[in-house]
């Protein structure tokens, strides 16, 4: 379990906090989504959690042990996929994974099987410098998984991927969760968060603006709507009704010639807009 308590970070030491009062916890076998636009402080929190940035104020615990007291061996249990793919360009995809696999003192995956899972088997013996950005992104993800991590940190894991590859990456992430890993997912892709996360936190201006499961957030902040598409003098028009206002919907349906009727719930994107007053754009 990862516990984050009241974490603050000031890059310049001038009293301006990039992130402030960040608190949450992630249990094993759960995916925690950290959502927010670029510059909200998502990567800062991830970097503090993985020890890449020193913890200035607050507390981060891995099964009760402070991040400040972690020994080198602990990093056998962590896997990190960075937003910017960072692999050895002059080594092949296979060599990259083999190289990192040898650094761990715990059982690791077979590099070739992992490359197969991320769709890189055929390019396994090509130099990483010849990979496209999406391929390097997948290689970075495979590297993060090589040591069967107990704590998995993923920063925009589907960024720049085509829909089919993004779907297989999603499946891979679900498998890690099902295997008991605590997954920390950083993204501004609300669709990805909605489909994967057990809990999401909206980060805006360095602070958590809302945090709960996607379902609860939708119930709390979103409206369930019914949209009626109807014919009006040969033109297709549509009108939405709050699902709780059934009387208005019934009266409207009597007066028009309906073509389609759809029920719909608020998206996380709309909820983010409602909570923060800002659109979630990268």
């Amino acid at each position: 379990m990862i516990t984050v308590n009241s974490v603050y970070h000031d890059y310049e030491g001038k009293g301006y906090y990039a992130v402030s009062d960040i608190s949450f916890s992630i249990e094993g076998g759960k995916i925690f989504g950290f959502l927010g636009p670029s510059g909200a402080g998502k990567s800062t929190v991830q970097n503090i959690m993985t020890g890449l940035i020193p913890l200035q104020r607050g507390e981060i615990l891995y099964n009760g042990q402070s991040v400040k007291a972690l020994k080198t061996k602990f990093f056998n249990q962590i896997g990190v996929s960075f937003e910017q793919p960072n692999v050895y360009a002059k080594l092949t995809g296979y060599e990259n994974l083999k190289y990192f696999a040898a650094l761990f003192s715990v059982p690791t995956h077979d590099p070739m099987k992992l490359l197969d899972r991320v769709g890189l088997r055929e390019s396994a013996h090509k130099k990483a410098s010849e990979y496209s950005k999406g391929m390097r992104q997948r290689l970075t993800l495979a590297r993060a998984l090589i040591n069967k991590p107990k704590y998995l940190f993923l920063d925009e894991p589907t960024s720049g991927l085509d829909p089919s590859t993004a779907a297989s990456v999603r499946e891979l992430i679900r498998e890690q969760r099902d295997g008991g890993a605590a997954v920390f997912l950083t993204t501004h892709n609300m669709e990805l968060a909605d489909s994967l996360c057990d809990t999401v936190a909206f980060l805006y201006g360095g602070k958590i603006a809302a945090m709960d499961s996607p379902e609860v957030l939708k119930l709390e902040y979103g409206k369930r709507l019914v949209t009626v598409t109807y014919d009006e003098a040969g033109n297709e028009c549509s009108k939405s009704f709050d699902m709780s206002d059934r009387k208005a919907l019934a009266e409207f349906l009597v007066d028009v010639n309906p073509i389609k009727i759809h029920s719909q719930e608020a998206t996380l994107e709309e909820i983010f807009l409602r909570v923060t007053g800002k659109e979630l754009k990268s």
């Binding site: 503090i48 020890g51 080198t72 990093f75 002059k90 080594l91 040898a102």
Partner: protein, 322 residues
């Protein structure tokens, strides 16, 4: 151990694809050719006369000139020694810039009692003259093979920074010791190989191999460790290259003392390559000097460089934030 080996092997693969590695390897071949074919065997056979004016010292190589002006002019032009007899009976030694020690040694030889034969005994065990070109081999070993880790270690480290892979290393269970030992070990092995090639093709194989290999291995380790610590403070190749070249130039200064052994001030002796050039000379040409001081010097440098590098690389490169 497997981590160290894996790092070393992958670093070697990365080296194979690095252009600078092949430039250094080509330089090795060039130096071997240079020593064997281009450098003269003796650079002092053209003119080693002593010029004299108004002195009573005569020897086979002494040439008398007709005026003080001519004496001064010829000493300047020929870079030789002139003895000028003064009116009060004293002698002024005109020379092209020799150290005081050397001049005193010459004068002591010249003005010994004339009825004593003067013999010259060489102190090297093989008791033969070392040709100039062969004598330069230790210099080239020090400034080509040994510094390979300084340059290429820096190149690999900077590419890890530029590619961002250093961030992945930071969250891997590797530790600074494995990181340093893998890279230093790799470059030391390459340095031993290159030194052997240079010695073999320039001098032959008639020298104590074990001493030579140990000196090359640990000498290269010193430069690799210093190089890694030094490079840690740079972000990219362009800012690093000039500073690296400057530092290597300073490291080359002991070649002055090797050419003119009487010039060996303390500041020159503390440069690591100083001890190593003379140690190679001692090993390759059988000079008969004790190697114990070299062992202590190299061990001291190794330990010091490792501790400094461990602190710098650990603190500023690998464990940033931990």
């Amino acid at each position: 151990m497997s981590g160290i080996l894996a790092l070393g092997i992958q670093d070697f693969k990365r080296l194979m694809t690095n252009a600078l590695f092949w430039v250094i390897t080509a330089t090795l071949v060039l130096i071997i050719v240079l020593i064997n074919l281009a450098l003269p065997k003796n650079i002092s056979e053209e003119d080693y006369h002593i010029l004299i004016y108004q002195t009573d010292h005569y020897a086979d190589q002494a040439i008398s000139v007709s005026s003080e002006e001519e004496l001064r002019q010829k000493v300047k032009e020929n870079g030789t020694i002139g003895l000028l007899g003064n009116d009060d009976g004293s002698i002024t030694v005109l020379n092209p810039g020799l150290s005081e020690k050397t001049v005193h040694a010459i004068i002591t030889m010249l003005y010994r009692s004339s009825n004593i034969d003067i013999n010259i005994e060489r102190l090297n065990e093989s008791n033969k003259t070392i040709p100039f070109n062969k004598r330069m081999t230790p210099v080239f070993i020090c400034f080509e093979a040994l510094i390979i880790g300084f340059i290429l270690g820096g190149v690999l480290l900077l590419s890890e920074k530029e590619e961002g892979t250093i961030r992945a290393m930071r969250i891997a269970p590797i530790g600074v010791d494995k990181y340093l030992i893998s890279k230093t070990g790799l470059f030391s092995i390459i340095a031993v190989l290159y030194s052997f090639l240079m010695a073999l093709f320039c001098i032959g194989f008639n020298f104590p191999v074990l001493s030579f290999a140990l000196l090359s291995f640990f000498g290269a380790a010193i430069f690799s460790l210093i190089g890694l610590a030094f490079t840690t403070f740079f972000k990219d190749m362009s800012s690093w290259f000039f500073s690296m070249a400057l530092l290597l130039s300073i490291n080359m200064l002991p070649v002055v003392a090797y050419s003119e052994p009487s010039f060996s001030p303390l500041w020159l002796r503390v440069i690591p390559s100083y001890s190593m050039i003379f140690a190679y000379e001692n090993i390759l040409f059988g000079m008969g000097r004790s190697l114990i001081p070299v062992v202590f010097t190299v061990a001291g440098w190794c330990i010091g460089a490792y501790l400094v590098s461990r602190f710098v690389v650990g603190r500023y490169l690998l464990a940033e934030g931990r």
